[in-house]
């Protein structure tokens, strides 16, 4: 018969063994038998410690690193590593996805997952269980917490004082000198001693709502009937990709005109805030696109409009109205509106350069037009274009005009590339016009591509509905 640890070994040795366990094994051991349960007698604090240790296990995602100096997150937003990460909520005692937390709860210094080797990560490897009565144990926990708080405060003061000390040691005679960034050793101190030390206070949006944190006016962007929480910002190439992710395959990045990434090469989309809303019917939190009020938080401001009453998620809408056609119509209208907006933007860009070409060939409003001596070429390229007004600030085009417009542009490109001297070429191709000139084909391609997507969506009103029900892209 196998010997039993709990029968053969005296309690003082068992206590010693238990004190060496990690919080996860402590709870697992306490669940093996009545003897062990009575012996360990786990309290809420032990379960919370277990949960905080669980979130650091590799199966719940790698620990994200947030560089405070560059504000860079690794793994990046939207990557599969980031999406699969789980975070502990010590309110409902669950490991939940990042969408169930606001920015502060998972990105603030004291709430982030601690990196390996930090004080907090080391603490999570061993339980603070002690063989004491509950009251005595609780006092010990409180004492330890007070001591840790004191240490934390000292560290915070050191970190907060660092820029001032740095400025004193390295005086700069410039009143607008840049605030120095954290030095490596200060950054290391932050990572080692501060990060993650308040994780036990982290609460998911549902717990915040239930605790009444949002009872104050303007404390959250939703309404009483439809509570909402702002999470983090993500870049999307377009509004339709933000609200209907994966509905259509994206154009490859090299096909995206550079006007939308003009600020820097890495800017490949629109920065948008994500919101999660709780459906009053099924009581589940979902991404706000599931509620079909796509413009509700479009510009990142809190509650610009009051949501429709009742604001039901797609599935509850279907269950309440029993009318798939109604839902399909609403979804298709929303998607089409976004695609059409995108097409209008593209069309606007497509037309952008023509008034400038006209200005370069003619002296209307331009005292010294760079292409004035090529008036014949100008007439060849511009004659027959329909202008909105006599000032020739904008052209009127329809889909059927695009091949003709394309031919005119090819002639203009040929002219600029081969028939003008380099100095004139340099004078003409400036600033935004240069971008337009170089990316004209991309605008045209994008316009045709968007037209194709719109025609596809218009061909069957059920396409978006099927996509929503099949992929459930908003469920958290």
């Amino acid at each position: 018969m196998a010997p039993f640890l709990d029968i053969h070994v005296p309690p003082e040795i068992l206590q010693h063994i238990v004190r060496h366990l990690d919080p996860i094994s402590l709870i697992a051991l306490s669940q093996t038998s009545r003897v062990w349960r009575a012996f360990i007698n786990p309290i809420h604090h032990d379960y919370a410690q277990r949960l905080l240790a669980l979130e650091l296990l590799p199966e719940h995602g790698i620990v994200p690193r947030f560089d405070e100096r560059s504000q860079k997150l690794t793994p990046s937003w939207g990557s599969s590593e980031w999406e699969s990460n789980k975070y502990a909520c010590c309110g409902c005692m669950k490991l939940r996805t990042h969408m169930m937390f606001d920015n502060h709860a998972i990105l603030r210094r004291l709430f982030r997952k601690p990196p390996p080797g930090s004080v907090e990560a080391s603490n999570a490897t061993t339980t603070d269980w002690e063989p004491l009565e509950l009251s005595a144990r609780w006092r010990h926990i409180q004492d330890r917490a007070a001591q840790a708080k004191e240490e934390l405060e000292k560290c915070r003061v050191r970190v907060a004082d660092w820029p001032r000390e740095y400025a004193m040691l390295n005086p700069v005679p410039h009143p607008f000198a840049r605030v120095p960034q954290y030095h490596d050793d200060i950054n290391h101190e932050i990572e080692a001693h501060l990060v993650g030390t308040s994780r036990h206070k982290r609460r998911c949006v549902e717990c915040q709502r239930r605790r009444g944190n949002w009872s104050r006016p303007n404390s959250h962007p939703g309404s009483k009937e439809a509570p909402a929480a702002k999470s983090r910002q993500l870049k999307f190439p377009s509004m339709w990709e933000r609200h209907f992710p994966g509905l259509v395959e994206r154009l490859p990045p090299e096909s995206v005109p550079r006007i939308w990434r003009a600020l820097r090469e890495s800017t490949d989309g629109i920065q948008l805030s994500l919101y999660v809303l709780c459906c009053p019917s099924c009581d589940t939190w979902q991404e706000h696109s599931a509620f079909r009020e796509w413009s509700l938080y479009q510009f990142g401001f809190g509650s610009p409009k009051r949501p429709k009453d009742p604001l039901l998620c797609n599935r509850c809408h279907l269950a309440a109205h029993q009318d798939p056609d109604l839902l399909a119509q609403e979804l298709t209208m929303g998607a089409l509106e976004m695609f059409r907006d995108d097409r209008d933007d593209t069309l606007h860009q497509l037309k952008f350069g023509w008034p400038l070409i006209h200005r370069d060939f003619n002296d209307s409003g331009n005292p010294n037009p760079p292409l004035a001596k090529f008036k014949a070429v100008g007439a060849e390229i511009l004659s027959g274009l329909r202008w909105t007004s006599s000032t020739k600030q904008d052209i009127i085009i329809e889909d059927s005009d695009l091949p003709d417009l394309g031919r005119r542009f090819q002639r203009y490109r040929e002219f600029i590339d081969h028939e003008v001297d380099s100095e004139t070429r340099w004078r003409v191709l400036q600033s935004w016009f240069k971008l337009w000139f170089e990316d004209y084909d991309l605008y045209e391609k994008r316009y045709h591509w968007l037209n194709k997507q719109i025609a596809w969506l218009e061909s069957d009103v059920k396409i978006v509905l099927n996509y929503v029900l099949k992929r459930d892209p908003y469920r958290i």
């Binding site: 010997p3 060496h20 990690d22 094994s25 697992a28 093996t32 009545r34 062990w36 199966e59 061993t126």
Partner: protein
């Protein structure tokens, strides 16, 4: 003082316990033996058999003295150095010690814990604790039961309630392994 002298120790917990002849420097790993040597007349102790009463087998004691003999030259803490018995320190086992513990079954391991606790051989006691901790660490409830030979005495209802206690940790997902 000669260090290659031998001491004779006998476990008197059971009748006819084996008499162990242990080098003095090895036996001094035990704080209890060292106190005896200090408190009593050394020549007497060296010729007489020192009785010890530990609820453990002779084979287990043999393993304890095997470890002590191998580490006889290891520095021993001063007797008045209590250290912090409650301090929780994770120990990395050296390769010889790792092999030593890999050869023994759980009954002997528990016996070593009891014997080293009685004889106050702190390094070996700490290692044995660490070995038990390593056996349990990262295991599910079911695995711990198998490893430590624990039989569940919970009723089905209690078992279900216990599973619920920690199942909430996973947000709507399958619980990975039993009650962990």
């Amino acid at each position: 003082m000669a260090t290659n002298q031998s001491l004779k120790l006998q476990n008197t917990f059971r009748p006819n316990g084996r008499v162990f002849e242990v080098e003095r420097s090895a036996a001094e790993h035990s704080a209890v033996v060292r106190m005896l040597l200090e408190d009593f007349d050394e020549p007497d102790l060296l010729v007489t058999i020192i009785p010890i009463s530990i609820d453990t087998s002779d084979d287990t004691l043999a393993k304890v003295f095997e470890w002590a003999t191998h580490h006889k030259n290891m520095p021993k803490p001063a007797l008045d150095d209590d250290g912090d018995r409650d301090e929780v320190v994770t120990i990395q086992l050296a390769s010889w010690d790792d092999e030593f513990f890999s050869d023994i079954d759980s009954e002997t391991l528990y016996g070593i814990l009891i014997a080293t606790n009685y004889l106050d051989i702190k390094p070996l006691y700490d290692m044995a604790v660490q070995v038990v901790v390593n056996m349990v660490r990262g295991k599910s409830t079911k695995q711990i039961r198998e490893i430590l030979g624990i039989t569940s005495d919970f009723t089905a209802e209690e078992e279900a309630a216990i599973r619920k206690e920690t199942a909430w940790a996973y947000d709507g997902e399958e619980v990975p392994n039993e009650t962990s």
